[in-house]
């Protein structure tokens, strides 16, 4: 009953505050993109409204900029947003990754310093984990963090740091002890405006410049910016990577069916089927796997709600990347020469987007734990296969 009342309250507030022009817009395109955000007055209005209400981080205490709501209520907000084609304009690395980490491992001082400005999206965060020599084997990271008495001095390089060139702060894993591997890592909050920090965008094969290399050259960091105890950073990182994995499994999995575009590009036979039988067989096979994948996500979610095993995230991720990558290849194949364009009006905009999406999709089986790492995890955790 109370739920129903709250739901009505949410509906009323949304109808009064969500700018209709943003309906159906992908909230993610604004993440870390200062230009797009600045360009949209509506977006700023919408973000401010949600920030003021505390509904971007609804379960956080009001002292931290949240609304102090229950998980059930937070879910109602999410459902109502989705129902009208709205989105959470506050959602970010800060809300999804650092926030939960500080709530679990941070000091009260750290929470009060950072959470309120995360809940308003006033400050943007980036995640400094991977290094050139530490990809799949994250714990081999080498970025030096030396105790200089009243502050830390940090030196080294991070890579694959999303939006580092736009970020105000970075939460990073650093090495505070070189004599042990996992036990020599600490979790540090670094102000990106500190002298000695430089973020350089990396150009990806898709043309995206979302990821950066970040160089740290004798950067001074206050002592109080360490989260948890010295050399205890790996445990925090593992926990945080769980947040990342669970947010990965929430990735939008619905895709436009290939059938209409295949009909248009490959023609139809007398029975209305895609005329290229070989391509059709592969398209259908992929589409069926995609359908079964969506059923699998629903089943895993249902099982998880009912306390099921919950060790299937690695399996899901590999299925997903495989199916989506294959689909991206099929779409470009169907587009033929139209799908080979980089720019210019000779190529339809949809086709150019498909081409970039294909190139981008290759990352799905690399980031957030590669295909190989996920299969290692499945073999050990889900299947109980022995170590060598």
């Amino acid at each position: 009953m109370e739920d129903q009342q709250f739901r009505q309250e949410v509906r009323d507030w949304l109808s009064a505050n969500f700018p209709p022009a943003l309906t159906g817009v992908n909230g993610l395109i604004f993440q870390g993109d200062a230009h797009a955000a600045a360009a949209s007055k509506d977006f700023q209005v919408w973000r401010k409204a949600m920030a003021d209400k505390g509904w971007g981080t609804p379960t956080w205490d009001k002292a931290y900029g949240g609304a102090g709501l229950s998980t059930a209520q937070a879910k109602i907000i999410a459902q109502e947003l989705s129902a009208i084609g709205a989105f959470n304009p506050i959602r970010s690395y800060g809300t999804m990754m650092l926030g939960p980490t500080l709530l679990e491992f941070g000091t009260e001082e750290q929470r009060l310093q950072h959470l309120p400005r995360i809940s308003t999206h006033e400050l943007r965060w980036c995640q400094g984990f991977s290094e050139p020599g530490a990809g799949s084997d994250l714990a081999s990271l080498q970025m030096k963090c030396v105790d200089a008495g009243d502050h830390w001095v940090v030196s080294g390089q991070k890579i694959w740091t999303s939006g580092a060139d736009q970020a105000d702060w970075c939460f990073a894993l650093v090495r505070t002890d070189t004599s042990v591997k996992h036990g020599g890592i600490s979790f540090l909050l670094i102000d990106m405006t500190s002298p000695g920090v430089e973020a350089r965008p990396i150009v990806l094969i898709s043309g995206s410049t979302h990821f950066c290399e970040v160089f740290f050259n004798d950067v001074k960091v206050p002592k109080g910016n360490l989260v948890g105890a010295v050399n205890q950073g790996w445990n925090i990182a593992k926990r945080l990577l769980q947040f990342e994995r669970s947010s990965l499994s929430e990735v939008k999995t619905d895709v436009t069916p290939l059938a209409p575009i295949a009909h248009a590009m490959l023609g139809t036979d007398a029975e209305g089927r895609i005329a290229d039988a070989d391509a059709r067989a592969r398209i259908v096979h992929n589409a069926m796997r995609h359908a079964a994948y969506l059923q699998t996500v629903r089943r895993f979610n249902e099982e998880a709600r009912n306390g099921g095993p919950g060790n299937g995230v690695s399996t899901l991720k590999n299925l997903w990347s495989g199916i989506v990558q294959r689909r991206a290849e099929l779409l470009v194949e169907v587009l033929g020469a139209d799908g080979l364009g980089w720019s210019g009006n000779a190529y339809p905009a949809d086709a150019r987007e498909a081409t970039r999406a294909l190139l981008h999709s290759k990352a799905f089986s690399i980031y957030g734990g590669s295909y190989e790492i996920q299969n290692n995890i499945t073999a050990k955790r889900s299947l109980g296969l022995p170590d060598r």
Binding site: P257, L258, A259, A262, R273, I274, R280, A281, I283, V284, H285, A287, M288, R289, A291, A292, Y293, Q295, T296, R298, R299, E302, E303, N306, G308, G312, S314, T315, L316, N318, L319, E372, Q374, N375, N376, T378, A379, S382, L383, G384, L385, P386, D387, R388
Partner: protein, 375 residues
């Protein structure tokens, strides 16, 4: 697997326990003679005593209405029973009789027909089965066996094969070609003019070849006419067969996994070799997709979901493909021992190939799904 309610959990536990205690793979193996093929004297190709036993526990009545002695427990429940039984290749006519024949009578039967047959099907005293295929491939829209209108009834001429569990069945639900298209008729096994002979199949299950030579039936034999009824019955067959394939594949995978954890080569458990770990992980993923597809299709039957045809073909195609792949890997990963008749791997592979073809190959169901979904 999906979340079960309390009654379902109890049923599933009971089935698992029974399979463990009463239905080891050696029962299916018993149908084979020394040379690896079917035994001439095992005419029915299934275990009659065991079927009586599970019928006594009510499993044959799961889909039947309470009015006819069933529990009306739903296709989802019957599905996981089929799955559990298929783990050990249990040679039982539960799919033919309790899933398909009961569905046919529920979907098409009038009150008299239901009264005449459902109680027997539910309590296991009669075994029913669908006689639809006539040649090498499942082709329900190209029936040859003819149902000609005669005075007060019908006359059937033609053959049906392979008919699953047909050597022990008391009732055939026959799909024939009538003047107005597909016609479904109830034909007791002892009807004059109907003869049957066993086929020696690689899974030793000995389906029947039925010959209809001027079989005359009364009007009361008519279950229904038209594609929709036949399709609705077949959807249940597709999903039930997919549930069996899921069980078969799941057990084949788990048996293989156990072997990987115990077999030593080069001083290592072979399950520690990364190449095998990755193949096992990929197979595990395929099993997940298949389980989801099968469970969703079973649930769609109970929900009268109009998407059932599409979901049924998705389930059967996925189950075919996964069982195919995993039974290949089962033999491969067991190495030489997996090639011997003495080991179970060959039994899983042979049964899988039969079940893959039964009620439509992967090609058939991918084509059907594609048409239903506008490709």
């Amino acid at each position: 697997m999906a979340v079960l309610n309390e009654e379902q959990t109890m049923l599933k536990d009971m089935v698992s326990q029974w399979v463990r205690d009463q239905m080891p793979v050696s029962v299916a193996r018993g149908l084979y003679d020394h040379s690896g093929g079917g035994r001439r004297d095992a005419i029915t190709g299934f275990d009659k005593d065991a079927y009586a036993e599970i019928a006594a526990m009510g499993w044959s009545g799961i889909l039947a209405p309470e009015a006819h002695g069933g529990s009306d427990f739903g296709a989802f429940s019957l599905g996981f029973v089929l799955e559990e039984l298929a783990r050990t290749l249990s040679p039982l006519p539960l799919l033919s009789s309790a899933m398909i024949a009961v569905s046919a009578l529920r979907l098409g039967g009038n009150a008299a027909q239901q009264s005449a047959w459902l109680t027997g099907l539910a309590d296991g005293s009669i075994i029913g089965t669908l006689a639809v295929d006539e040649g090498a491939h499942h082709a329900p829209h190209a029936l040859s066996l003819s149902a000609a209108r005669v005075e007060n009834g019908w006359r059937l001429d033609g053959i049906k094969r392979p008919v699953a569990d047909g050597m022990g069945a008391g009732l055939f639900i026959v799909a024939a070609r009538g003047d107005d298209g597909a016609t479904l008729l109830l034909v007791p096994a002892d009807t004059a003019g109907l003869t049957r002979e066993p086929l020696d199949q690689i899974d030793a299950r000995r389906p029947a070849m039925l010959r209809f030579d001027g079989v005359v039936l009364g009007d009361d034999a008519m279950l229904g006419q038209g594609e929709p009824l036949l399709s609705a019955i077949l959807d249940r067959a597709y999903v039930g067969q997919a549930a069996e394939l899921l069980g078969l594949a799941t057990q084949a995978f788990e048996t293989t996994l156990d072997y990987l954890k115990t077999r030593v080569q080069f001083g290592q458990l072979i399950g520690s070799f990364q190449a095998l770990q990755h193949r096992a992980s990929d197979m595990f993923g395929e099993l997940q997709l298949t389980r989801s597809a099968v469970e969703a299709a079973l649930a769609a039957i109970d929900a009268d979901d109009p998407q059932l045809p599409s979901l049924a073909s998705l389930a059967k195609a996925m189950a075919n493909e996964t069982a195919h792949r995993i039974t290949c890997e089962m033999v491969q990963l067991h190495g030489g021992i997996g090639m011997t008749h003495e080991h179970d791997a060959g039994l899983y592979l042979k049964r899988s190939r039969v079940a893959e073809q039964a009620y439509g190959s992967s090609s058939f169901h991918r084509e059907r799904w594609a048409r239903l979904n506008g490709y």
